[in-house]
């Protein structure tokens, strides 16, 4: 089937860091948008955060990090200091040639730089801007910061996650960064749709805090009913049982099982060979199973621990009982289902055109979880720092080689980390979590 490069011709200037905006623009970049990351040579946190191919930061470590590659694939990099007057001026020239400007600075930063929506719309009336920050651009907390994990705490999610009697749980995997990023991706697509329909730009403001609250929307309604949510571990909060994570053979190996109907319970009994404890009329109804859930969990945990997590999963699934092994990354890399669906992608060695991708070519990337037959989505390498300086300054803005050289001399345009950064390279083995 013929595939369209859906967003070809859309240019996005990205003043973005970490994940919540970068992952959104990466999704658009895979669909053909030209995303130009505007990077500051002294703010290289994203490029320092690893993980490194084979755990070793190479000579050009700033181009090789795993999370950087995941969340910035298919983009371009312009290393330009927009805090300087000349840098800002060049940025504004680029705005005239662009469709979208995104940022996830703290509230107020874009205003201070004179790069807020109004300023940009003055020179480019149909500009689309997206700002995503912690608490939105109004309200008493507007200048406060967040990371995905502090949003978990603040939005109410952590307090109702975790084991009974245990501390609050972080909804690990940066659920908020992921959800926020998906919101940002569709907001940008929606703005493109809107612009093509009306000819007008849009100002988009996304708040991570409020994204978090949306994710526990039903809990807000429960508060009004007087329900105080308790932590219940993995157990279902209301009525499903058995519904939990159970031990299997092996160290730290587990299986999730969820039964939500009498039929599924009957099938679970079959799968276990009708053990005596399960053939109990008290357990034949939803309320009965809920009332005796702790006893049920104990028995079921005993049964699951007689096999490994994958064997037990398939044994249960053969009887159409919802069950899933708790898979780690090593198991997912070999998951036959993902393989058969062609889900995992990688940068082929012949397309490894820059210093970073030459190190990580061939390694697996998570691809998109939706298959779109008519839209081409293709991952290209994440850019080396300042890789597209020449292309953008000469090709787009028409600067002369001398002018570019002068900008370099003045430290406004760079293609290497600062001396400070070079003096303290990341350590082997360092990666996500170590510095957090």
């Amino acid at each position: 089937m013929k595939q369209t490069r859906l967003l070809e011709g859309i240019r996005i200037l990205a003043l973005e860091q970490v994940m919540v905006v970068p992952y959104a623009t990466a999704i658009l970049a895979d669909m053909g948008a030209e995303v130009i990351r505007i990077e500051h040579p002294e703010h290289l946190d994203d490029r320092r955060s690893g993980p490194w191919p084979d755990n070793i930061p190479g000579e050009q470590w700033w181009n090789e990090g795993g999370t950087f590659a995941y969340w910035n694939r298919s983009k371009k990099s312009l290393c330009l200091d927009v805090y300087t007057p000349r840098g800002r001026e060049l940025f504004l020239k680029l705005v005239l040639l662009s469709d979208i400007v995104v940022d996830n600075f703290r509230t107020g930063t874009m205003e201070r730089l004179g790069l807020d929506h109004e300023s940009l719309a003055n020179i480019k009336p149909d500009i689309i801007t997206l700002t995503c920050n912690a608490f939105g651009s109004t309200g008493p907390y507007r200048a406060y910061g967040s990371r995905a994990r502090t949003i978990d705490s603040f939005c109410g999610l952590s307090s109702i996650s975790g084991y009974e009697g245990g501390p609050a749980l972080r909804a690990s995997s940066n659920y908020m960064d992921h959800t926020g990023a998906l919101n940002n991706a569709f907001l940008l697509l929606l703005a493109i749709y809107h612009k093509r329909k009306t000819g007008q730009g849009l100002r988009l403001d996304a708040s991570m805090y409020e994204t978090g609250i949306q994710s526990i929307g039903p809990a807000l309604l429960e508060v009004q009913k007087g329900i105080v949510q308790e932590r219940t571990g993995s157990a279902h909060p209301y009525w499903k049982a058995p519904y939990n994570v159970y031990p299997t053979q092996g160290t730290d190996q587990w299986i999730a099982i969820s039964v939500s109907s009498d039929e599924e319970w009957a099938r679970l009994k079959d799968a276990m060979g009708q053990p005596e404890w399960a053939c109990d009329a008290r357990l034949d109804t939803v309320p009965g199973r809920w009332e005796h859930r702790k006893e049920l969990d104990r028995h079921l945990a005993e049964w699951t621990s007689h096999g490994d997590h994958v064997t037990q999963m398939h044994r249960l699934q053969q009887h159409r009982v919802p069950a899933g092994a708790v898979y780690s990354a090593s198991e997912l890399l070999q998951d036959p289902h993902l393989e058969q669906r062609g889900y995992l992608a990688s940068i082929p060695p012949e397309e490894a055109t820059n210093s970073g991708s030459r190190r990580y070519a061939g390694r697996a990337f998570a691809d998109r979880p939706f298959h779109m037959p008519k839209v081409e989505t293709r991952m290209r390498p994440a850019p080396d720092l300042g890789e597209h300086n020449q292309e953008v300054f000469r090709g787009l803005l028409g600067l002369s080689a001398q002018e570019i050289a002068r900008l370099k001399q003045e430290g406004i345009v760079l293609d290497r980390p600062s001396a400070n950064d070079l003096a303290s390279p990341p350590q082997p083995g360092s990666g996500m979590g170590a510095a957090l």
């Binding site: 967003l7 669909m31 690893g50 084979d54 795993g66 590659a69 608490f135 109004t138 907390y141 910061g145 967040s146 502090t150 949003i151 705490s153 603040f154 109410g156 999610l157 307090s159 996650s161 084991y163 245990g166 501390p167 609050a168 749980l169 972080r170 690990s172 995997s173 659920y175 998906l182 919101n183 569709f186 403001d205 996304a206 609250i213 526990i216 039903p218 807000l220 309604l221 009004q224 009913k225 105080v228 993995s234 999730a256 919802p322 708790v326 990354a329 090593s330 997912l332 289902h337 669906r341 889900y343 998109r368 979880p369 939706f370 298959h371 779109m372 839209v375 990666g431 996500m432 957090l436």
Partner: protein, 409 residues
Amino acid sequence: MEPSVFSDVRVLELTGILGQQCGKLFADMGADVIRVEPPGGAESRRIGPFLSDVPHRDRSLSFWHYNTSKRSITLDLACPTGAAIFRRLVATTDVLVEDQPPGALPALGLGYEQLQALRPGLIMVSITPFGQTGPYRDLKSSDLVSLALGGPLWSCGYDDHGLPPARPYTDAAYHIACHYAFVGVVAALVLRQATGQGQYLDVSMHEACHDTTEGAMPTYYFGGQRVQRQTGRHAAVTATQPVLFPCRDGKWIFTRVPVEPNAWEQFLDWLDEAGMAVDLRDQRFSDPARRQQEIAHITEVLASFCATHTADELYHGAQRRGMVWATVRSPDEVVHDQHLKARGFVVSVEHPELGRSFQYAGAPYQFSETPWAIRKRAPLLGEHNQEVYCREMGFTPAELVALSEAGVV
């Protein structure tokens, strides 16, 4: 109300529990979302808790949240008359969202090819546990099972690995799958806008969960190392220091030791104000690398500091100093948050049949045009039968009664 960008987009939703949030994302953006329910009502109407603990298909709080701004009609797709009416509806539809088991709709003659013949520009999205192909296609799943098999659960839990991993509250797996589906459908709308072409999207919750594992995948795929779950903090290859501490008022605070030079000085000044910097002014802590080595000791000082302050003092004190900390708050505290009040985030939605209003989570994103809004509370079962069947499709009231008596609607 201002017109919405999706005001001319009609969405038919044929979902159970998994796909219903995708419809909400459309409905609150102004699309006309019609939830087509079996005559007995959608499965998600049976999820408790219920208002006043009275189990009823129009009183599920969870259903309320996930179905704002939608319309509801009932229709039995399994009977030929019902399927024929559904086809007529599809002919007026832009997007069909469904989460039935793979193969179920084609078996009713309602697969994408068949429906596209009636509506060439139709965009259809199937949101299923494992997608339409592959060896797990027909396996059974749930939110918890998908979080397990897709990878997120591995990173969620406590330091004590004798305890199983624990799922975060909320139907996170369903949410993630619906969010990806929505991104895909909006992209498909952009294509349709340019070319008039529709297409079929196959969304896999398993893959959506796999994508939502943050550093876990690159850490293994690039570096060959597995992260381990930790209490309240990032799963990591090497254990890191605790970050959650109890405060004087019994609440908990999520902290982070600021290791960066400027932030470190500010942190010390703050500790000094309370006379609690202990030995952290010693020369040996002035070097950032050394601070990283001494992090266990610094963490102890931090824990004592937290124990003598209220959560609010710590939260605002840290944020004013540029440190990103957060109080662990309950949903109850969130509903009454001053910041949300000032922004008008929590919105009051009227339930006329109950003579009451309830507070709902509002817009997570704001626009200069084309606003997000809860246009109406979740529909009662079949609330829009007459509106859709008679006023919009032209059935006479007598025909509707006949359909109802035959159990079709």
